[in-house]
Symmetry: C2
Subunit: 423 residues, 2 copies
């Protein structure tokens, strides 16, 4: 069976273009053909100008580390050559003057922005029309719904997402692709719509760990290096977290099974508990997200309250009702928890934990639970999800790896090794 | 001698309006008159529409915690009812669709944005036309040049600034006003142009500490509380830092004198040293600022390289030449230093340190040295400058107080007490 160009990983597609075995035009055309075939069912794209993209592909000389590889960009990211709606009717006709820094990095590396992918409204809770490619009756997860679905459905090899609670890791998991949320602040958020500023993080999706590392280097604006899977003895923590009982049976048994298989392969896997006090962390996180989320919605709430969803209005009202002292206390508590978890995780190459509470929920209204995501985001820790399992409904179930802050490189090489071992 | 309305502090002006002793129109008119008189010499404003502002003042009902008090907003902050140039000819005709969150908070509190104040190009090094009100042959400091000069010259009681190295504290110091740079992330940066994202911080200037606390609450979107000067025994550290010898004689003797006077007033003042390794911090900071600064300039460098200043082009080229490993090492080192300095400062209510290396330099080209600012910004610590002294040229010299992360409330009440003791 021949692999069609749109099914290639980004690194392999770039290699073939560089070697003269594939043209940028053929790659982009294959992606566009796949989209034309599947978009009526999946609805992953908020904006895609077929002619404009084909012109760019034909004109592309194949240079730069990306060699013309196309990317889907979440529609809360500003683009100067495409409209940017932030998933809201308020911005239906909004066309930014300047690219976000991450879009500029894609251009500078010789990549092509194929189009803008569907986001929930302002990357919060109100869903877009995107469906899960594995079963269109199910949510793809959110808020980076379109990027996850497009990458999973081989419409594009790489997608940009953002995560405030679980908006990269969860949709990647539900759609059965790899997702990477870096250490807070590593990748520029400049030109991206904020949701809750103390936790908002730019991330990406792909169909292998090597592509995540490659794309991360592009987005960081450095020369992409080769990713070497972690060699030698691997030491993993296994952190079920205090939300373990909220994961469904299939998720719990998949994770326990993964820990056993990794141990059988020679990996040291030790149970690790979260420091005391973190049982309160979901409540504290919610307070923080509401406080900051309300303020980010403020300008739109002032100018177009009628065009906000009921979800956004509720978030605004909840957040404006949070007392100042409780917000300051929330900031202080997470500050302390970051230091404590850094210490608790310091002895491990990475920590294994569920990616989500279960398979993608049925229906499009609810994009999924944040229980296994909000904590790592708010702790500013880097995380990767590996699409290692299937659940009882045949939908993807992931394994998440989390590493200490600023240990992104180690995390990616560990994830590459763990993905091999669980394959 | 009668105090003219434009000379009032924000809190006093708001009180008088609330009590019916002053009208919003009279206050705004006094500010506009002062600007008309002084702007030819000071050049603090990038945009000011006198008719629009007067209409807003006449229509204002005096409600909200700000009661119509006017504010100067640095021109790297997006405003929907005024152009926003970011100090660059690239954005000469740029008119944002949406207010920055901080501008929305001013509106929501019943404040009036009087106009946009001059910034250096993209809040970096290339200066604007603003002059120091104390001596127009001298720089007002940068990058928040216009806000500092306008507040100092009684054109407006409050100014918004941003700080990446020292861009709030230094111009406030040079212009002889109070400046406050909060803990990193406390105030929303949404809708503000980024310079170096891991350190960019929104801050403010005023003519007393009480106004800083009041304005901070407005910008945070909470009900302004009363500021109580720190009561009881005060424990200060005195941190000369490894840059002490770079401060001029007048600054060093002013700080030593302040420490003595505070001790004589019953304050405990202990010398505190920075942890080991921080001697390298300026080099590490510069690398970090160049790396991130180059990326924030990327979109403009792609679209309008010819319209960037020579300073901006140099920053871009320096930053793009930084190797990935050195940047990651810089992030890790500052991460470790933040934890170490938190511990070193934990026993103090605040730490006394110079605000700048000396008086405002002569000429407008150089906005001043970052030696006494970059470290606190990169450590994410809150800082306040108090205009306590005069230098040999008769220009203002400040005393800076720094507190542990998230101890902003304590810092402001300590600053209020120290300002009283040094008065």
């Amino acid at each position: 069976m021949t692999t069609r160009p749109n099914e290639l990983t980004a690194v392999e597609a770039a290699r073939r273009i560089d070697a003269g075995e594939l043209t940028v035009e053929a790659l982009v055309r294959a992606c566009l053909d796949r989209i034309e075939e599947r978009e009526p069912d999946i609805a992953a794209w908020a904006h895609l100008d077929r002619e404009q993209v084909l012109d760019a592909a034909v004109a592309h000389d194949g240079s730069g580390p990306m060699h013309g590889v196309p990317v889907g960009v979440k529609d809360i990211v500003d683009t100067a050559d495409a409209p940017t709606t932030y998933g809201s009717p308020i911005y239906r006709d909004h066309w930014p003057e300047t690219d976000a820094v991450c879009v500029n990095r894609i251009h500078a590396a010789g990549g092509i922005v194929l189009g803008k992918t569907v986001t929930t409204e302002f990357a919060a809770r109100y869903p877009g029309p995107t469906r899960n490619p594995h079963d269109v009756r199910h949510t793809p997860g959110g808020s980076s719904s379109g990027s996850a679905a497009a990458v999973a459905d081989c419409m594009v090899p790489l997608g940009i997402g953002t995560q405030t609670a679980g908006s990269v890791i969860r949709p990647a998991t539900f759609c059965g692709v790899y997702g990477y949320k870096p250490t807070f602040g590593l990748l520029s958020f400049s030109g991206v719509r904020h949701y809750a500023e103390s936790v908002d993080t730019l991330g990406c999706m792909a169909r292998c760990v090597e592509d995540l590392a490659f794309f991360r280097d592009v987005l960081l604006g450095v020369e992409p290096g080769d990713l070497e899977p972690h060699a030698g003895r691997l030491r993993l923590g296994f952190c079920r977290t205090h939300h373990w009982e909220e994961a469904d049976e299939a998720t719990r048994s998949s994770l326990d099974d993964a820990a056993k298989r990794l141990a059988a392969a020679g990996v040291s896997v030790e149970d690790v508990n979260l420091p005391r006090g973190l049982e309160d962390s979901l409540d504290v996180y919610n307070l923080l997200q509401q406080f900051e989320g309300a303020r980010c919605l403020g300008p739109d709430h002032e100018s177009h309250p009628d065009l906000l969803s009921v979800d956004a209005r509720a978030l605004h009202d909840l957040g404006m009702a949070v007392e100042a002292d409780r917000y300051r206390e929330a900031l202080r508590r997470f500050h302390g928890w970051r230091v404590a978890v850094d210490e608790a995780f310091a002895g491990y190459d990475a920590v294994l934990t569920p990616s989500a509470a279960g398979e993608a929920p049925r229906g499009l209204r609810f994009t999924g639970d944040i229980a296994f995501n909000y904590l790592w985001t708010a702790l500013h820790l880097p995380a990767v999800t590996i699409p290692a399992f299937r659940g009882p409904q045949g939908l993807p179930v992931g394994a998440q790896l989390v590493a200490p802050r600023h240990e992104d490189d180690r995390l990616l090489s560990v994830a590459a090794r763990v993905a091999q071992l669980l394959a």
